[in-house]
Amino acid sequence: MKNIIVVVVFVISTTIFSQNKQVLYDFGELPQSLLLNPSLENNYKLHVGIPILSGFSTQIGSSGVVLTDLFAVDNQNINDKISQVLHTLTSDDFMMINTQVELLSIGFRLNDKTYLSAGFYQEIDAIGYYPKDFFILFSEGNNAFLNRSFSASQIAYKLDVLGVLHAGITKKIDEKLTLGGRFKIYSAALNLESTNNRGTFTTVQGTNNIYTHYISNVKMEQRSAGLFDTNDEIIDDKDEYIRRTFLSGNLGIGFDLGITYHFNKQLKFSASLIDIGFIKHKKNVKNYIEEGSFIYEGFEYEFDPNTNRDFWREINNRFKKELPTVENENSYISWRPTKINMALKYSFGERRSEICYDNSYQDFYTDAVGAQLFSVFRPLSTNVALTAFYQKSFSKKVHAKVTYTMDDFSYSNIGAGMSFQIGKVNFYTMFDNILSYENLSSANSVSLQLGINLIMN
């Protein structure tokens, strides 16, 4: 129970990791690997995912701060701990979460060179950068920070709740080359995003008065789609969000592309671009834009008995005029976070044969090592992860993989996964950053994937 609370709080209060699924990538010919690279080969005749159970994955991560930094039972004052964390954070630190639940997954072999696959999954994808300057201004004020500029550019977040209907093809061109592609229709139930903000707040010693406060060159935009109904009330019906993931939300399209190339029977290169696409948000849109600059020195009294000025109102009016907040319902485009996967895999060990969909036999090696590169384009930066892996096939139905990954969260991320098939039922489960399971509270990231498929070879 304690672990569940930790995970839930982690999701709510911190952030998540990138969508790297380094254990799943090119592993055990799992159908779900096709969502990471549509060109990855298999020898299935048919596969059907068990609805809801075929693919579940979640990844949670936070760079710069972990739960124990704040909530460890260590007799330290919570104010001191929060202050210490705030000053340790950098503007590149972030929280992320990505969760996918596969509701439908099917595939069948059209001919000996072509495998078709399709499905539907729901996804929650969120990232938020820690706005360090805002946190410090909020928690400490400007008193100790004369001449320091607090930047609004650190405010960046993106949250998507969507459903994805997809269909793909894996096409073997020749013995060496296989290409793959996938077409996706996105149905967004909710989008909240604010990126590319700018502006600073600075307090300096003044000339006319003791201090002068500058709010300079501000341009901030908060976009939302799906959060407010037509009466400007926040939609709090969970079922409504789920319903809109089924093609009744804001729609978009995207593509996955993949390539697999065999240099020889043992050395293979594969690469993919995932989620090259966008969503056009035009339903239930509400955006806020703040733009301008404002200088405040206080009220200048004039001691003019002939006027009765309301200086406070004048300041407020000038603020609204020079730094206005504009609300609109303009449609906008939200780009999906495009991911890149690349892998070089060298197979070795005992050479065995496995029966294929056409009752022919195909050789495979029991062992493989290699390296993978993952990258995802995020609002403020590009996250990169580098993975080394070892893969072992204990039999044609039982496969295991161990990974070592260096990423934004850790240089000691060890993952492991296993796939095994009993009859036509395939089970797989994978854990990332397993060293952190010794103490989940101090983990920067945790991820897992698991599922059940029916596979007919």
Partner: protein
């Protein structure tokens, strides 16, 4: 045990026997956010001519200005403000004493007033700090107006209307907030 079974067993270990260091989320109840904000308040510069009537012949020994001031009216401030510091910096180039009265009003009724600030003539760098503990001066939270009065010492000799000497007044407020979740 076969290798695959061993692996499954180890995976199960991770799944079911992962650990989490004991955490106390209730600590957040003890967190007190204590920001300190500085902001400029009022300022002015007057010359002898500002103390004369429109004809330029009759000197007024007192001038004042009042403005609305709603900064203390927000619920957050009322609930969480614990102290106010009011800093004043004055330059008095006049040849006589000037007395400054700062009053905090609510609908023209005084709810808090400074001890009058008296600045001797030709004092060029006068500093004054008024520290206000809200717990013992809660009426100041009802402030809706700020009135400042400048009074000249009555020396019996009028100021020189054309004298370029200046009386300069600057002020700022430091707000001590203490809020919890």
């Amino acid at each position: 045990m076969k290798s695959s079974s061993k692996f499954a067993f180890i995976a199960s270990i991770f799944l079911f026997f992962s650990c989490a260091e004991s955490l106390d989320f209730n600590q957040i109840d003890d967190y007190v956010n204590k920001p300190i904000f500085k902001a400029s308040l009022t300022y002015f510069t007057v010359v002898p001519a500002d103390f004369f009537d429109s004809t330029g012949t009759i000197q007024q020994n007192s001038i004042s200005e009042t403005t609305n001031f709603d900064a203390l009216q927000s619920k957050f401030v009322k609930d969480n403000l614990v102290k106010l510091d009011l800093d004043v910096a004055i330059k008095n180039e006049f040849d006589r004493e000037v007395k400054i009265r700062v009053e905090f009003l609510n609908n023209n009724v005084t709810v808090y007033t400074f001890t009058p600030i008296i600045i001797q003539g030709n004092t060029l760098n006068y500093k004054y700090l008024e520290e206000i503990e809200i717990a013992s001066n809660s009426a100041i939270l009802n402030t809706t107006q700020v009135k400042i009065t400048a009074e000249l010492e009555n020396t019996g000799i009028q100021l020189n209307l054309n004298d370029p000497s200046e009386f300069e007044f600057k002020s700022s407020v430091t707000m001590y907030i203490e809020s919890s979740f």
